[in-house]
């Protein structure tokens, strides 16, 4: 049995498929007319093609039954979900990628530490510290003031007491001194006045006594003279 020409087989297949232009097809026809092996090869391929078509006819037989099964199966399938009709295939993937990247950028920006604003940070820290420490400081200061006040008062109290006592003592001493001095002077003056009064009274008394004595003397002299006179007359008389 003659075999086909190996270098002609591709062309023969393409000729059978109708892939050759007119000139190439004519060349193949000319060769087939001259080469029994290639002619048999071509006939084999044609028969093989017919068998394939026949096989396909049987394969597609009963297609109506298959379609019926599919349509029956579709009865239990829910209708299509809504998608964006204009976005599909590559565009959908691209949009999804952009969305994912965009979300990543946004999340990154939101979560990334911001540049340090010294003034803002200082103000925030100050406000925060003031807010957090102010009550404590106030309490601490008040407590300190209370303690200092109490200590001051305690010490002042002692000092004041001592000072007051000293002052009182000084005042008392001064007062006593002055009082003593004044009293002595007053006493001296009073004594002097008293002495003067006493002297005056004594003088007055002396004068009164003197006058009384004078009067007494006078009266006594007169009486005595009277008596004497009376006595003297009686005696003369008696002598007589």
């Amino acid at each position: 049995m003659n075999r086909s020409c190996p270098d002609r087989q591709d062309q023969i297949v393409e000729y059978m498929l109708g892939a050759l232009d007119d000139a190439q097809a004519a060349a193949v026809r000319e060769h087939l007319a001259q080469c029994e092996g290639c002619r048999r090869y071509f006939e084999d391929l044609k028969r093989q093609g017919d068998d394939l078509i026949e096989l396909g006819t049987r394969a597609t037989a009963g297609m109506g039954v298959r379609e019926g099964r599919v349509i029956q199966a579709l009865e239990t399938v829910p209708p299509a979900g809504r998608v964006i009709p204009v976005i599909g295939g590559f565009m959908r993937i691209a949009v999804a990628a952009v969305l994912v990247l965009g979300a990543g950028v946004v999340i990154g920006r939101l979560t990334a530490p911001r540049p340090v604003d010294a003034e803002q940070l200082r103000a925030d820290l100050e406000a925060s510290i003031v807010a957090s420490l102010k009550p404590a400081i106030q309490e601490s200061v008040l407590a300190g003031l209370d303690q200092r006040l109490e200590a001051t008062l305690a010490s002042s109290d002692t000092e004041i007491r001592v000072e007051v006592a000293e002052q009182i003592s000084r005042d008392l001493r001064t007062f006593a001194s002055q009082f003593t001095s004044n009293s002595e002077q007053l006493m001296d003056r009073r004594f002097a006045e008293l002495i003067e009064v006493i002297e005056a009274a004594r003088l007055t008394d002396r004068r009164q006594v003197a006058r009384a004595l004078e009067q007494i003397k006078a009266q006594t002299g007169a009486g005595l003279r009277s008596v004497a006179a009376l006595t003297g007359t009686a005696s003369t008389s008696v002598e007589n």
Partner: protein, 205 residues
Amino acid sequence: MDERSDRDLVTASCGGDRTAYAGLVRRHYGHVFLVCLGVLGNVHDAEDVAQDAMIKGFEQIRQVREGDQFGGWIVAVARNLSINQLRKRKTTEKTMSTWWAGPGGSRVEGVSGMGFQPMNHRQDADATTDRGRDALDTGASEDLQRAVARLPWDLRLPLVMYYFDGQDVKTVARRLEISPSGVYLKLRTAIKELHEMLTAQGDTP
């Protein structure tokens, strides 16, 4: 079949109109199923994942910016779900591939005609169900099924879309979001590998 445009049906479905979405299911389920089949190479897994894709489409239909783009959008959903499913069963699939490709052809009874791959546990359980009968019961094309199943999924998917779904290369390229030349390259590679596998098995179509 609902005569309204995809745009109108999508708009109505966004409002929860199940009847409108049923119209979209009838219009696009075939493409979705074949994309799943192209990736997974297994009819039963393709049915399950295609159903999951249509349900997910109803749940997320508001993501469709232009109603006219629903077809491409739901196919992309189905393809992604299928690839995820393929990864999940990777270990099991390797085990199964070794199982039925091993020495002596140690196939499990029921493998023939049950899809593009040897039966897994689910297939075994469904072997007598309607779904089992819906699966490929080819007989003569069993080798072709197995050859298709052995292709890498990135080669099998454009092959299935081109031959099974009758889509032209430009449509396959648009739905797979690759260039037409890329689709031609994958188709060429897949077709040549299939031929080599079938020839090696001595069962040239």
